[in-house]
């Protein structure tokens, strides 16, 4: 085993982590994971799955109930200060002092993390440059937009050039433009060799940024792998079939919903009983059906013929690779409610 803090120890090694809150809620229930240095690791899960709890244990804010957790080779229980020195942490809620200027916020972080006095001024400039806040360095943070505050927060997490950075849902509540901008910073940081541990509810975010993912559900890791591997685990490709009138054409509006619904149900029924798609997952969508099967591409046309024979008018079809949404659906059995996720932010679970 590598010695504590040495470069050979993984960035994060978690074995059998359990965390039970004082009210008896078991937020994390037997999580194992290893994150090698330099990786962009994504921790994905719905609200209340245990993401924030796990990240807080890794950042020494919560003490684990059971299991062993080492960060950069240091045990979070016996060596919390060494852990804190070697990580950057960006909390889910933007954490900056609104009464201080942008530069003062970064400077305070420099002092808090023991950046040598002679290097502080350069470090402040460098980090404000990185997050494009140099122009407003001497403005008070309370005047900033949500995106600017987040970027400032990100800068303060990097003052001591930590080899590992935790980002807890860093883009929740931001508009797409601000989100894209933050993604760029995170890629840049990762390119410089920094390990990143990111939690997110946004599948797209994980898909865009992460080398490897773990999906947590009810306190347990239910899937792990690269985005591509996870998509393969879904079991093949997705065949989407659309039916007549389902594209929302004017003439078909009104009173037709019952029919359309039953058309889709019938189609789903046919697909489920279709011999070639033995292991298929069939789902009724807004405008047709979606069939996920290993042989979706080869036998797609056969299904289309069968549907036409049954008197259904197919207006369009499409075979595509699965997205992480499909992964989520396959694992959790529930569709990710995008709207709820856009509006909501994960509260710390009680």
């Amino acid at each position: 085993m590598a010695s504590p803090g040495s470069d050979e120890s993984p960035a994060i090694a978690v074995d059998g982590l359990e965390l039970t809150y004082s009210d008896g809620t078991r937020a994390v229930d037997g999580v194992d994971m290893t994150v090698p240095r330099g990786e962009f690791f994504g921790f994905l899960g719905p609200n209340g799955a245990g993401k924030t709890t796990t990240i807080k244990v890794l950042a020494t804010l919560l003490s684990p109930t059971a299991g062993s957790v080492t960060v950069n080779g240091f045990d979070v229980r016996s060596d919390p200060r060494k852990v804190r020195e070697s990580i950057g942490y960006m909390a889910q809620e933007t954490s900056i002092d609104p009464e201080l200027t942008a530069a003062e916020n970064v400077r305070f972080a420099c002092e808090a993390y023991g950046v040598p006095r002679g290097q502080r001024a350069d470090r402040v400039d460098e980090l404000l440059d990185l997050v494009d806040l140099r122009d407003v360095a001497d403005k008070r943070a309370e005047e900033f937009s949500g995106g600017m505050k987040k970027r400032l927060d990100a800068a303060t997490a990097l003052v001591h050039r930590p080899p590992l950075v935790f980002l807890d849902e860093p883009t929740t509540g931001l508009d797409p433009k601000a989100r894209n901008r933050l993604w760029d910073y995170f890629r840049r940081i990762n390119d410089r060799g920094t390990t990143i541990f990111l939690t997110t509810q946004y599948l797209e975010e994980a898909d865009q940024l992460c080398d490897r993912l773990a999906v947590i559900l009810d306190g347990e890791i239910v899937a792990e792998g690269s985005p591509a591997e996870l998509k393969r685990e879904v079991g093949g490709e997705v065949l989407e079939v659309h039916f007549e009138g389902d594209d929302g054409g004017e003439g078909d509006r009104g009173g037709d919903d019952g029919n359309r619904g039953s058309d889709r149900e019938r189609a789903a029924e046919i697909a489920r009983e279709f011999d070639a798609f033995a292991d298929a997952t069939v789902e009724v969508t807004d405008d047709g059906i979606a069939v996920t099967a290993p042989t979706a591409r080869e036998h797609g046309t056969d299904l289309l013929v069968a549907l036409r024979d049954a008197g259904l008018t197919v207006t369009g079809f499409n075979v595509r690779a699965p997205t992480l949404d499909d992964v989520f659906l396959a694992i959790t059995g529930e569709e990710v409610e995008t709207e709820r996720m856009d509006a909501g932010r994960e509260e710390v679970q009680a």
């Binding site: 003490s63 909390a91 954490s95 305070f108 023991g114 950046v115 122009d135 360095a137 001497d138 009680a350």
Partner: protein, 320 residues
């Protein structure tokens, strides 16, 4: 999209950049010392306890200067009391005071009480600062940093105590302008400032405890303010206890304000004014000052322990 506003803000930023720099980077013996111990070279150096205290002391002072509202509000009410009480009640109250303490003007009698009132009002803002820190995430941010947690709270408290010292000094100066006399001179004035500081500690601890328990700015302000007036009026602050009803005298005996005011007043008048504790082992005013300080320190330790317990509980599991 933001090009125009970007330029504008940049201009403004440069305009006030100078003052900000000098406020944070001005030469200071303590800062130089802190940096010295922290050492140079390497990506980062180890934090020292004193360095951590200093960093936080500095931050809370910058915040206090940035937010003059806090400074002013905790001064305004006591100043209003000082002026109104001496002008409105001066005649009546002066006679009551003169019965027990011949030759002492009401101004002189009142100034120590107002000094204690300032400490009380300023101590309330300590808890408010903590609530704000919890709300804007700085509390957690500090907890994940390698700074020593005790040093963090010491630095914050030191900044508040520093502010209280300045405010008490302002009240003493103002009182003298109104005709109050400090019998013990400059040394006595310094001792009154020290009394204000030691007195403030129990209320600083209390307001921080309220802050951790309620985690809500309004509850903390209301809770602390609700306590302020009964504590002030049901004490020896405004009139000699002997002129007040029995039940108030009983309450005053248990009221920390009585001990703070009596101690400050003994220093102001240079005589033993404490009636709630009969001590005669020492000399003159010391018969009030020594037991007074002992009680105040005891309170500080007691309330401080509760606050430290609550804070460390909040630090180790910030989850509700």
């Amino acid at each position: 999209m933001s090009d125009a506003t970007g330029d504008e803000t940049a201009g403004e930023a440069r305009a006030d950049g100078g003052t900000t720099e000098s406020a944070t980077a001005g030469p200071s013996a303590a800062e130089t010392a802190a940096a010295g111990v922290a050492g140079e070279g390497g990506g980062r150096s180890s934090n020292t306890f004193l360095g951590d205290v200093w960093v936080n002391f500095k931050r809370w002072n910058v915040k206090a200067v940035r937010n003059p509202f806090v400074l002013v509000v905790s001064l305004v009410q006591p100043v209003i009391f000082l002026v109104l009480f001496t002008e409105v009640f001066g005649n009546v109250a002066g006679r009551a005071v003169a019965e027990g303490l011949p030759g002492v003007s009401y101004e002189t009698y009142l100034v120590p009480a107002i000094a204690i009132q300032v400490s009380l009002a300023a101590a309330v803002t300590s808890g408010i600062g903590l609530v704000n820190d919890i709300e804007n995430g700085m509390f957690e941010k500090v907890l994940v940093s390698p700074m020593n947690r005790t040093a963090v709270f010491l630095g914050k408290t030191a900044a508040e105590v520093f502010r209280i010292a300045i405010q008490v000094a302002i009240i003493l100066g103002l009182g003298m302008l109104l005709g109050a006399e400090i019998e013990t001179g400059v040394v006595g004035a310094a001792a009154i400032v020290a009394t204000g500081i030691v007195f403030s500690l129990w209320f600083v601890a209390l307001s921080n405890s309220l802050a951790v328990l309620t985690r809500d700015q309004e509850s903390t302000i209301i809770g602390a303010n609700l306590l302020q007036f009964p504590l002030l009026f049901l004490s020896s602050a405004f009139l000699p206890l002997s002129t007040l009803p029995d039940w108030i005298q009983t309450f005053a005996r248990l009221n920390p304000v009585t001990y703070g005011v009596d101690t400050a007043r003994a220093l102001m008048l240079d005589r033993d004014v404490m009636t709630v504790l009969e001590v005669s082992r020492f000399d003159g005013a010391m018969n009030t000052v020594i037991p007074g300080f002992a009680v105040l320190l005891g309170l500080a330790v007691g309330f401080g322990s509760v606050a430290v317990f609550l804070l460390s509980r909040a630090s180790s599991s910030d989850v509700q």
